[in-house]
Symmetry: C2
């Protein structure tokens, strides 16, 4: 627990996966698990799971394994998802519309609280309960509501510009749906979500 050295990011990336598996077990009323069972579920070695979890403290019990509700709580703590995060959606095109309508985020710790676009033709129209706001109002909104996270669903051609504006406005983490790499200051979290990259990776192994 005495983390003078930062925890490797690659471990942090696995924690949500562990959490997902644990919640799945929990939903089936399983109370205890162990590194071997988790490993089989996830295709990860038991040793790695033990080593990953041990970075944060002794969550397990020798001889019995891990208590699932307890470990879920701990992982949520570590990942800071023991709360609900407000996020904004920037870009109300087809993709943005689909995401705004999609209920998958709500109840899972993230809540879309506003939708922005800069197309005058759609500003003021509504998606679900959201009235589409002009991007020019985003800065005030972000600061007033202390929003840290943005979902970026603008076209690739304006993604860099939009991202820079969001960062200047106080956004600290961007989930980028646009198929383009963003260059942003150190310390800004960026994740990329492009199904095409994943499809293109898989085809290498086909035929």
């Amino acid at each position: 627990m005495s983390d003078l050295a930062p925890i490797p990011d690659i471990i942090i990336r696995r924690l949500p996966i562990y959490l997902q598996a644990l919640q799945h077990l929990h939903s089936r009323s399983v109370v205890t698990t162990n590194s071997q069972e988790l490993g089989k579920m996830l295709g990860i070695s038991a040793a790695q799971i033990r080593k990953d979890l041990s970075q944060f403290g002794g969550f397990g019990k020798q001889g019995t394994g891990y208590n699932i509700p307890f470990l879920i709580e701990k992982l949520k703590n570590i990942l800071k998802i023991d709360r609900t995060w407000d996020v904004i959606l920037v870009g109300a095109g087809d993709l943005g519309h689909a995401i705004a309508r999609y209920q998958g985020f709500q109840n899972r710790g993230f809540r879309i609280i506003a939708v922005f676009d800069n197309n005058p033709a759609i500003i003021g129209s509504t998606i679900e309960e959201f009235s589409i706001l002009p991007v020019s109002q985003a800065r005030d909104f972000i600061q007033k509501n202390r929003v840290n996270i943005a979902l970026l669903t603008v076209p690739a051609s304006s993604a860099q510009e939009a991202a820079e504006f969001l960062v200047e406005s106080g956004i600290k983490a961007i989930l980028n749906y646009a198929p383009i790499s963003l260059l942003l200051p150190e310390g800004i979290q960026v994740e990329y979500l492009d199904p095409l990259l994943q499809l293109q990776h898989m085809t290498y192994y086909l035929e």
Copy 2:
């Protein structure tokens, strides 16, 4: 090019990213680039880009760098995306609907050619030009049309079962939108697409 040893998967994963950057440069009519410029665009070291590309042959020219159209062609070859891949969409709930309507795959080397679901209430209804087919017809369809790739957008609770059925029917690659790990035979490609995992990873670094 004499690959007795297989190319590490981590390199294959970077190729689509390189391709994306190259296509971006190409669209701006840039004809030549080099490892340093690409590295800056992508946040990857120049040495790594050179080493990755050299795995597949000498694509560059000392002193000048890489010819963009040539390198794009080569990467498409390697990734086998110098053709169009037919894919099926399995699961026509909200998410499946959004993906079926979304035009982002067409014209980028992948084409949805059918949509399946097992809910009698929606079988036969249409999304765009697709008539939703019963899953029971999927096996024949996959085999007749030699489909290799499926987008899986069923609920998490039925994803494992659906995936197994698809694999038995001949599917070789699954892009899994359901928030659950799949256990499938060796040799089947699986990619996971769950925005929540990415959001949960980013929150670790916030505040």
